[in-house]
């Protein structure tokens, strides 16, 4: 189970950890964005500091219909106690957690400031 929280802006904040290229773990928090179909986005300077290897250049359709190119990087995160290889989108944004990491999980959120959020593997 992953425990998150609802912040004063009514955003769901999920804490987890990510490996850098030397396999050291770093704590990280991301805003859950169910409009993002990828796994995770991080700002390019953070990706550079972690030494996450470049994987590919890809393209996303934004909410206004526009198309935007960006780089995907390789990363391993610890998600629900297990290491998981994901692609991290290099985006100028607060870290976003996308729906790909929610596949086969239940999501429950209490939408009050400080409310509890649970992401739990479907049995």
């Amino acid at each position: 189970m992953i425990a998150g929280t609802v912040n004063p802006r009514f955003e769901i904040i999920i804490p987890f950890s990510i490996h850098d290229a030397k396999v050291q773990l770093h704590d990280i928090e991301a805003i859950l964005d169910t409009g993002f179909s990828g796994s995770l986005s991080l700002p390019p300077p953070v990706i550079a500091a972690l030494g996450l290897p470049f994987d590919s250049v890809t393209v996303a359709q934004m909410a206004d219909g526009s198309i935007r190119q960006y780089a995907n990087h390789l990363a391993t995160v610890v998600w629900d106690g297990a290491e998981r290889a994901i692609r991290v989108a290099a985006l100028d944004s607060v870290p976003l957690l996308g729906t790909q990491l929610l596949i086969d999980f239940d999501l429950r959120a209490r939408f009050q400031v400080g409310g509890e959020v649970e992401i739990k593997a479907i049995q």
Binding site: P43, G51, M62, A63, S93
Partner: protein
């Protein structure tokens, strides 16, 4: 020892991706588009900033810790600008890949090496580029999704990232 070894420039010094013996004479070949390329990647970072007094959670604090505490060198780097990836990728898609596609390929992720023109299809965005990198370790991959205008969708506005 002879051959081509890649690397990147960091703090004004060339850092090779493979350890090299002291005293080895090397020649550095600078790809034509290198200035444009790095500018392109830097431009991407320009809109992002850390620092908002209004931040009410630890999201930025965690990022700042990473920025201050770590310096790890990535081994694989892009050799083209975003625009070149898109142009070449789209051109190869239309000329090489599209004629081979079948209706059951719709929705699959498609990874194209814009240098060798090799490609892979898979339902999973990690597996598709992993497999192409296994065959082509140096691949420069353009990732898209068959039958979609883009590989992913992003619902949230970007640029300064809602940090302010």
């Amino acid at each position: 020892m002879a051959g081509t070894i890649s690397g990147i420039v960091q703090d004004g010094k060339v850092v090779s991706s493979t350890p090299l013996p002291d005293g080895l004479n090397v020649q550095i070949l600078v790809p034509e588009a290198v200035g444009e390329k790095q500018g392109d990647l830097r431009d991407e970072t320009a809109g992002w900033r850390v620092g908002s007094a209004e931040a009410s959670d630890g999201v930025e604090e965690k990022l700042r810790a990473i920025l201050q505490g770590t310096k790890v060198l990535a081994t694989r780097q892009p050799r083209y600008s975003m625009e070149e990836f898109a142009q070449r990728g789209t051109e190869i898609y239309e000329r090489v890949v599209q004629p081979t596609l079948k209706p059951e390929h719709v929705d699959l992720f498609l990874a194209i090496d814009i240098e060798s023109e090799d490609f892979e299809l898979d339902v999973n965005d990690c597996k598709v580029t992993d497999r192409l990198h296994e065959r082509r370790p140096d691949a420069q991959i353009w990732l898209m999704r068959v039958g979609h205008p883009a590989a992913y969708r992003i619902g949230r506005p970007l640029g300064n990232g809602g940090l302010g």
